[in-house]
């Protein structure tokens, strides 16, 4: 069997595929963050908590309302997105004129409160959430056993990422959004309701986080801290991709998933730090990020 640096080729393929799957989560989460930052100039530290809420809402739908995974995939983003809309209207919209730091403090505080409330109610051991029967089982590929559900995660996140990118880059709504980012006053003068646009954008970004949460529920432990662990990595992804760059966050999300996957084979101890090492290198060479515009 051919090997690369002592690792069999076949094992390597498997690891690359797994890296891609993790990259899917990074991509959806960082996409939501990038949209919110790009249009609202808010560093949304509540993102991890909203991802966690997505998973919890899926669990609640199943246990309180008897609605399964597919309903959750549709409803959880809507429910959590609405929560985001309320949050934006009540609190975040008051901070647009202030320094970034205030938005960061507010959203970070909110994240702690939300996590605390869920912890108080549901404990920290996590809640069970089964893989939907349509997607259980797996495929025996020549180089690994691929659970069907993991394959679905990659497909679903790719579709959502590309659709989002198309909406923002190719439609009229997207054009308004981009224009409002550049110069809100002028766009408002043309009769576009900018505050509404911002509210909906925030709601959509949050809904993306919740969507990722539902995708994660069957494979990761559904517990109140699940978002706190992943959000730091996702922030690094956004910084590497370039704050606010839509395409950057998608491409970087998947790429870093792959790099992390490779690290897990060659030097597992470093797999949680490799993304931050890359972040440091990128910031040194290209401070605006790989896809960022230099102001």
């Amino acid at each position: 069997m051919p090997t690369i640096l002592g690792v069999p080729m076949q094992a390597l393929f498997g690891q690359l595929l797994l890296g891609l799957i993790n990259g899917s989560f990074y991509a959806i989460l960082s996409l939501g963050l990038a949209i919110i930052f790009g249009l609202l100039n808010i560093i949304n530290f509540t993102h991890g908590a909203q991802y966690m809420m997505g998973a919890f809402v899926a669990w609640m739908l199943l246990n309180y309302a008897g609605l399964g995974y597919w309903w959750a995939l549709l409803l959880a983003p809507i429910v959590v997105g609405l929560f985001g809309v309320i949050l934006e209207r009540l609190l975040i919209s008051r901070l647009y004129k202030l320094d970034h730091l205030y938005g960061l403090l507010l959203t970070f505080g909110l994240a702690l409160i939300i996590q605390g409330l869920f912890r108080n109610e549901y404990g920290v051991s996590g809640l069970p959430y089964a893989i939907p029967s349509e997607l259980s089982g797996g495929q025996r590929l020549p180089f690994m056993f691929l659970p069907n559900y993991r394959g679905w995660v990659v497909v679903a996140s790719l579709v959502v990422c590309i659709a989002t990118w198309l909406v923002i880059e190719k439609t009229k709504l997207g054009a308004y959004l981009r224009a409002a980012t550049e110069n809100p006053t002028l766009v408002q003068a043309f009769g576009v309701n900018v505050p509404l646009l911002l509210t909906l954008t925030y709601g959509f970004g949050v809904a993306l986080a919740a969507f990722a949460g539902v995708l994660a529920a069957p494979v990761y432990s559904v517990n109140p801290n699940m978002g706190a662990d992943i959000i730091i990595v996702v922030f690094a992804v956004v910084v590497i991709g370039g704050m606010g760059s839509i395409l950057g966050s998608i491409v970087t999300g998947f790429t870093l998933g792959l790099i992390e996957g490779l690290t897990k084979v060659f030097y597992p101890e470093a797999s949680s730090t490799v993304i931050f090492v890359i972040m440091v290198l990128v910031l040194l060479v290209k401070p605006a990020g790989l896809f960022g515009r230099t102001a």
Partner: protein, 401 residues
């Protein structure tokens, strides 16, 4: 001002007078109330301590017991400063529970310095009764050596002769891997590989794939809490157990299995010192506990807090004073232990409480009759075999003769 002073002294005359009549005992339950170990210890441990005080009928026996609780956030510095404040300012006589080995070792030091008593239930490190042992410390519930002995030994005897470890990359994980490797080798098994996983890790699929590729018969999980839950959940997803490999959880509590459900965790072999459904004593206690804890059954750590508070109060009653920690601990070692949860046993000179451990297997979904019907007992490991022999721990309190 004068009026307030008079009032204060009048109040003291009442309160202090009462205190003189009874022996005051102040117990501090220090554990994780918000992090990864909050479900195995947390508020449940405080409830268990309260139940022990009730069951001991402390007031009738001349003890005036007060319980305080705090969150150490799994940080040694936070834990140590709470302990100092409790001992110096608040008059706490003994600290109970303290999960997270690093915090436990810090409290061990502070307690010895202040000559109070430290009765640990939640932490795993066997160093508490090894090189770090102290005349002020008792380690009640379990330790890494007992877990490694139980699960490691049993798996090899069941034919799991080759091992691959997924080890959480910090002191606890490495100690657990080291202790288990020793047991595996001693029983004629062999460790063929290990991977150090960053702590914490959400996605274990890559490491599981490596374990799968190694062809080892047993995959040993030298981790705890959320890491273990994620690893087991994903092992089921990747068809590891269906492929004929067995998973050995080296530190798992019933609350973890409850969160995973038997569907995901079935067939898992593990060692615990306590399970709610062992006998009439444990069932009666667990039912009462569940009423106070929102339907949850007690974990081994919470059961350990109950039993150790009970035993501690026996010693204080005998001495009629809780103020000298080393005297109380010496008395605890003198009296044999006997309670409905851990049965009869004793506390060794190194501070180790000796009681039976149990080897459990997680039931199949068809066998499980309720959300808390989780284990079937494979074997009872007698206390004198379960723990590290007294002369091998390098505890300075033990005469090597």
């Amino acid at each position: 001002m004068l009026k307030r002073l008079l009032l204060a002294s009048a109040l003291c005359a009442v309160a202090c007078g009462q205190a003189l009549a009874q022996t005051p005992v102040k117990i501090g339950v220090l554990n994780d109330r918000s992090g990864v170990y909050a479900d195995i210890s947390g508020e449940g441990s405080v409830a268990a301590a309260r139940m022990a005080v009730e069951d001991f009928k402390a007031a009738e026996k001349g003890l005036k017991v007060e319980i305080v609780a705090a969150d150490h956030q799994n940080k040694p510095d936070v834990g140590a400063s709470i302990a100092r404040a409790w001992y110096d300012r608040d008059g706490v006589d003994a600290i109970f529970d303290v999960p997270t080995s690093s915090v436990a070792l810090a409290i061990n030091q502070v307690t010895r310095e202040k000559n109070k008593a430290f009765i640990n239930s939640g932490a795993g490190t066997a160093d508490l009764t090894g090189p770090q042992c102290s005349p002020n410390t008792v380690h009640w519930t379990y330790d890494t050596v007992a877990l490694a002995n139980g699960t490691g030994g049993a798996m090899v005897k069941r034919g799991g002769t080759t091992w691959f470890f997924l080890t959480a990359d910090y002191a606890f994980g490495q100690a657990l891997q080291r202790d288990t490797t020793e047991v595996v080798n001693k029983n004629g098994g062999k460790v063929i590989g290990a991977v150090k996983t960053p702590f914490p890790t959400a996605d274990f699929s890559s490491f599981l794939l490596q374990a799968q590729g190694s062809g080892a018969k047993v995959i040993g999980l030298a981790n705890a809490g959320g890491d273990t839950i994620n690893a087991i959940k994903q092992a089921a997803e990747f068809g590891i157990t269906e492929g004929g490999q067995a998973i050995a959880g080296l530190l798992i509590f019933s609350s973890d299995i409850h969160a995973l459900t038997p569907k995901v965790a079935q067939g898992l072999v593990l060692t615990e010192p306590f399970y709610w459904d062992l006998n009439d004593g444990t069932r009666a206690f667990s039912d009462r506990f569940a009423k106070q804890a929102g339907g949850k059954k007690p974990t081994a750590v919470q059961a350990g807090v109950y039993a150790s508070v009970l035993h501690y109060l026996k010693a204080v009653e005998a001495l009629k004073s809780a103020s000298d920690g080393s005297k109380v601990v010496a008395k605890m070692k003198e009296i044999p232990t006997d309670d409905p949860l851990f049965g009869k046993g004793n506390i060794r000179p190194d501070g180790r409480t000796i009681h039976d451990m149990y080897l459990f297997e997680v039931k199949k979904p068809a066998e499980s009759k309720g959300p808390w019907d989780l284990y079937k007992t494979l074997a009872t490991i007698p206390g004198n075999e379960a723990f590290r022999p007294l002369n091998q721990g390098n505890c300075p309190l033990v005469n090597k003769s």
